[in-house]
Amino acid sequence: MKCSALARVALLGALCLLPVVACAEQLLRLPAATDAGPARPLVIHAALDLPQARPLLEDFHRRHPGIDLIYRNLTTLELHERFLDHPDEVDVLISSAMPWQFALANDGHARPLDSPHLEAWPAWARWRDELIAFTFEPIVMVIHRELADIAEPPRNHAELLALLNTHRQALAGRVASYDPVRSGAGYAYAMQESQLSPRYWDLVAALGGVEAELVETTGAMLDGLKEGRFLIGYNLLGSYAAPGVAAAPDLEMIIPDDYALVSQRLALVPRQAPNPQSAELFMDYLLSLEGQRTLAEETSLGAIHPALTGPGTATQLRERLGDALRPPGLGPGLLAGLDRLKRQALLARWQREFRRALATDDSADSVAAD
């Protein structure tokens, strides 16, 4: 089935680059062991950076050496486009662009899975057994230690709002966030947050008030923070920020405790997959305790399997943050994010709110009093 031309245009304009820092195409090939019988090919297209994906792929290949594995890391847009052009060249499709993945499944592009692990898989992390969420990546704030010179670091959105409003001059130009217009991930987060609370628009206005730098990727924000250009990074993808923060002693990662968005990678097996058996094998691995344990221990993606506890698991995050975690429900509500008019309306509002403080820039106090 071909995507309609209209949807294609919307696609190009809409979710541009999700938080994949990758360059155009990264390829990883794990050839089949020569003594493991006839090679069974498996083609995975993913929007998942190699450092995060490699431990999983290598562990999987160790368990199934007969698989001739080709892994392509693409941007979410490339991934989607390429799939619609050639729906029969890929066996497993992994992407963090949840609405797009959902739209594919909703249109009947996905093959229902028959994995023994599905029973144990939480219902909120699968849809019709066609679409599986297998990671749990909170959206975080990252602050530079220098911020302590100005004020107490914010622990949640309310404190961030207050901080931005009270220290407008001091923070001017030193806050970074996603640009919802150019970044698909930024748009997705804006969409979710605007639905969570109308106070989000005050936060957007406050971000506008401090003339926040709007960037396209988590990597860009992280780089600026490391260099000390930014004091606060808002809405970074936790799984990508965590290794960077761990390596930079000046940085601190904060998961807001009032609400924290959660991004999830969604995997599906296309209906026209050339090697469905290999695909099933890989999906089985993703859902299995072993795969999830590798995910928890060797990546920062966050394991979902309910039997896993400890660092790097959703269970632990939930224990710590409880109801504050807001993974987007795997449901048709996601489709609203792809609506062309909806996007235009939201972005228009976002830009209006972002410029609100500048337009009515009489005094910082008037904004702070808001």
Partner: protein, 457 residues
């Protein structure tokens, strides 16, 4: 099932058959009803979703504008995780926004006011239920008509239908089981009197012919009455038999008593002539008694309803000639004129020859005993008839039926046994023939005619 097999089985079959048909119809209705109900329930979701979307449609920048509420899409998918499609279409049928180009409804084009349309469609091999809301903008400047089309897959509806059907099915099955159980009990109860009747008949003393007095339902009461009528007839038959036996023993005792008396009288005498006379009397009496015993025996045989003689074609002419040959000498010695009046051609009827001979012998004997001088045997055709005519005293018309009964003698003066005509009557009945007693043609004497049924030859 063998139709004559069992009343119980027949009743059950005839009651169960309509019950099963009814059950099947109920199931079919439940199936259709469940589908309609599930669709009605889920169409409300289409209704609500289109309304939620329609409320967000605005006129902006000289065009239709929609701020799609995600909840409207969530609404369309329940636990069954249906696939969801929506589309906003303007008056000219142009697709404004949506994730699928849903087809328009072939029904009437945009009418005034809100119109809701539902129907089943198919899209890329998926069975969908589509809901279309036709409405117009409630705006100061523009009353632009537009259509909101939504659709979702049928999993939720199918699940609800199955659930409804299952609960209905449980009800129907329970009712069916109840009906069958009631049926079994009812049929058993209805047939109970039959068992009682059987027990009552089986428990009877085989010697008693008393009528049954058992409380029974109407249909069986009729059977009981029929049985009682049969019993009553049997009682009469037995009474007749008892009287016959009484008569027979009386008839046998009388000559035996005479023999005893005559012998005693002779024994008291010394003269051998007296002995001889007595012996002659004893001899003739015992001969008559032996003949009486023979007649009794043959009458008993003829009266047995189980007895069916083998019938062969017999020429009545031959029969008559044979009888004349057998009895001519004896009649001639007694000075009686015995004649035959035969037909020129043979006339065959199905008969037992020895029985016909017996009947003719009895009739000849009867006529002789009552003093006839001229006896004529004859055959007539159309219908086949056998007759014996004499010139004796005859029998008055009012006694002609009575003489057919055993031991009833036409005339009290004779020495006959009173069995002759009863035997002839029995033989006639065995042949399906009618026995007519009349005056002979000459105006006096007796004419006995045996009229055989018309037999196809």
């Amino acid at each position: 099932m063998n139709p004559a097999g069992s009343l119980y089985g027949r009743l059950l079959a005839w009651l169960t058959l309509p019950l099963l048909t009814l059950g099947a119809l109920l199931l079919l209705q439940a199936w259709l009803e469940a589908r309609a109900t599930a669709d009605r329930a889920y169409d409300r979701l289409l209704d609500a979703a289109t309304l939620a979307i329609a409320e967000q449609v605005q006129w902006q920048d000289e065009r239709l504008w929609l701020d799609l509420p995600p909840a409207a899409l969530e609404m369309l998918a329940g636990d069954a995780q249906e696939r969801v499609f929506y589309s906003l279409v303007d008056q000219q049928g142009r697709h404004i926004t949506g994730n699928a180009r849903l087809p328009e409804h072939p029904g009437a084009s945009a009418a005034s006011g809100d119109t809701l349309l539902y129907r089943d469609i198919e899209r890329h091999g998926m069975a969908l239920r589509q809901g279309i809301r036709r409405t117009r903008l409630e705006d100061w400047r523009s009353g632009e008509p537009f259509e909101v089309r939504v659709a979702h897959t049928r999993e939720g509806r199918d699940a609800l239908r199955l659930e409804l059907l299952r609960s209905n099915l449980a009800g129907i099955l329970a009712m069916g089981a109840l009906a069958v159980a009631t049926l079994l009990l009812a049929v058993r109860a209805a047939l109970k009197p039959l068992t009682r009747l059987r027990h009552a008949i089986r428990a009877r003393d085989p010697r008693t012919l008393k009528s049954l007095d058992l409380e029974l339902p109407r249909e069986l009461a009729e059977l009981r009455e029929a049985l009682n009528e049969l019993l009553a007839r049997m009682r009469r038959v037995r009474a007749n038999q008892e009287r016959f036996i009484g008569d027979a023993s009386h008839q046998l005792r009388t000559p035996l008593a005479g023999i005893t008396a005559r012998a005693e009288l002779a024994l008291r005498r010394q003269e051998p002539e007296e002995w001889r006379t007595a012996l002659e009397t004893v001899h003739s009496t015992s001969e008559r008694t032996a003949r009486l015993a023979m007649q009794l025996l043959s009458l008993t045989r003829l009266d047995n309803p189980e007895y069916r003689p083998e019938l062969h074609p017999v020429d009545l002419n031959d029969c008559v000639r044979q009888a004349v040959r057998d009895h001519w000498v004896a009649c001639h010695q007694a000075g009686i004129d015995l004649g035959a009046d035969c037909l020129p051609s043979p006339l065959r009827v199905a008969a037992s020859e020895w029985q016909l001979q017996e009947a003719l012998a009895n009739l000849i004997d009867n006529s002789r005993r009552y003093g006839a001088h001229r006896i004529t045997l004859g055959v007539l055709s159309d219908p086949p008839r056998l007759f014996v005519e004499d010139d004796g005293p005859g029998i008055p018309a009012e006694r002609r039926l009575l003489v057919l009964r055993p031991f009833h003698r036409g005339r009290d003066d004779g020495e006959g046994s009173g069995l002759g005509l009863a035997i002839v009557d029995g033989i006639a009945r065995n042949h399906g023939a009618r026995l007519d007693l009349a005056e002979s043609d000459s105006g006096r004497g007796l004419r006995v005619e045996m009229r055989f049924p018309e037999a196809p030859t």
